[in-house]
Amino acid sequence: MHLKNPLTLQNKGYVFFDSETMKTFISFLMNQAELIAAHKKGESSYVFRAAENVDEVILDYPRTIQPLKKFFLPPRETLLNFNLEENDFDVPDMETKKRIFFGVHSYELQAIHILDYNFKRGNPESNYLKKREESLFIGISYTPDEYHFGKSVGLEIEKTEGMCLYIEPMEAGYYMFVVDDNGLKLLTEFSSETVALKTETIKPQPKEFQKKIKYHYNRLPQVFDKVYDSSVWKKVSEKCVGCGTCNLLCPTCYCFDVRDEIELDTINGKRERFWDGCMLNTFAEAAGGENFRDKLHNRTRHRLFRKFKYITEHSGELSCVGCGRCTSFCPANISIIDIINNLIEEVSLNS
């Protein structure tokens, strides 16, 4: 199988912003639409949320807790409100409003691209697709930490597909690369005159990934053809406690469960869906109580096969984007890179 070739920086030119201009630009965007950006949460975490104050917007961050999917597939979402007395229900209104997602990393965009693929296939997921409308993405480069491994899954930091603008911070400010017409339009409206785009080649400081998968991403599907019965799965499951964090926070995981909850009047209620994950105990439990993946090693294997084989066979793309969330947030310190490298080692020993 051939994996699709990821695009890299395909800019049409850029302008330069100093830090003050950047702030004015963010304020300008906040007037144009709802602006979603990374913000600090707690002592050392980051979350995406709507910006209220320019000074709180964070441009330099390793990764947020929840990925961008939370805006299109919310962690909890009311699907319908019902009334048992009148035997009736209504679907909550879903107005789409223009949203600009500001300062997002390339893996985040790729994850949205993968979710789009999955939610358009078969029965289109109307709630997701509706919320996805009218979204603009402004990307930014990032400095890989000990958990990022984008390059190993074919995702350069500068992959701009799906973005309208791409920001490359430099010492005295920011290069603002125009990626598509929407980006150009934003810049033009901002400066209220024709924007003179520079095209001289610039060479940003190259950024190295600290973590690497031993094989080129093109070879991973072949690896996964051979590792179903690997001993690695049981090894991992000795440490894994099955908390599901790696599923819930993965930007390409999209499973959910649905539950009806009635109010105390026992008349009105709502049907709610919430994120679920294949690492959880009851995920594969069927009516009658039979659980066809009751062992942790089966669940871990399933999780990775969903990232590197099952969906890839249809889409031609890996479903892991190298964001590192599953590893950095795992309470048992289980590293997806280590799992894959151990699988590769086993495959190369046995071939």
Partner: protein, 252 residues
């Protein structure tokens, strides 16, 4: 539809769960519209002979408890264990891995043989329990869910996944990132990640998920700086019976 007759009974416990129920100020009146409370020592003293739903708080820890719970089981259609003492033995079960004679001497001194005592057991070790509401004190959202479901004749849906799930749904900062330890990864959800939502670690008051990877949990706690003994102590605080399960406490 006649309102179901509901009764509340307390066994060996601090009665905190019952008080917790009285704290539902806003919901209490609505609740009373749904059910007829026929026995509730904490709030009234009527008694009735038969119940549709009996809520049991506290663990079974004496021969008298055993007799009483049998009597209640005979008289009720549905029996719900309320709070961690009733569900797993809870804090009370901490005495179970100490010599019984020593424990009784500590508590009663010379009178130790005046009070027949048993290991602190979950209700399900003695009679059939239909549903369980976990937590110390019992988790309000789960209690309301069970009550409403039973009134409507539906089977309550009790989660069997980790507190981490609820924590992640709320996008809490993980307390592990603040250098704390946390039992959330192996503790049953249903409290809406109460403690981590207030920046505190989870002490496991709702008991472990079924299928817990006990060795993995010890490894995890070791990685967070605990010795094996300390790790076990942390895990056993509310859950001695689950962690030291050498006899059946009525689990499936």
């Amino acid at each position: 539809m006649s309102k179901p007759k509901v009764a509340f009974f307390d066994f060996t416990s601090c009665e905190g769960c019952q008080l917790n129920k009285l704290n539902f100020e806003n919901d209490l009146l609505d609740m009373l519209k749904l059910v007829d409370i026929v026995e509730f020592r904490e709030a009234m003293d009527d008694t009735a002979d038969e119940y549709d739903i009996a809520f049991i708080e506290g663990s079974i820890s004496s021969p008298t408890c055993v007799e009483r719970i049998h009597d209640i089981r005979r008289r009720t259609k549905i029996l719900v264990a309320l709070g961690q003492c009733a569900v797993s033995g809870g804090i009370n079960a901490m005495k179970n891995d100490q010599p019984s004679d020593w424990v009784r001497e500590e508590v009663y001194g010379d009178d130790k043989y005046l009070f027949p005592s048993l290991p602190a057991m979950p209700v399900r070790a003695v009679v059939k329990v239909d549903y369980e509401v976990r937590g110390c004190p019992m988790s309000a959202p789960e209690y309301l869910h069970v009550l409403k479901s039973l009134v409507l004749g539906r089977k309550p849906e009790i989660f069997d996944h980790a507190v981490c799930v609820e924590c992640k749904l709320k996008e809490n900062e993980c307390v592990l990132d603040k250098g704390m330890f946390c039992l959330g990864p192996v503790t049953r959800a249903g409290c809406d990640a109460l403690c981590p939502s207030f920046g505190q670690y989870c002490t496991g008051c709702r008991g472990p998920v079924s299928n817990i990877n006990k060795n993995g949990t010890i490894e995890m706690l070791k990685a967070h700086g605990f010795s094996v003994t300390e790790a076990m102590k942390r895990m056993k605080l509310f859950n001695t019976n689950d962690m030291e399960k050498s006899i059946s406490w009525g689990n499936r």
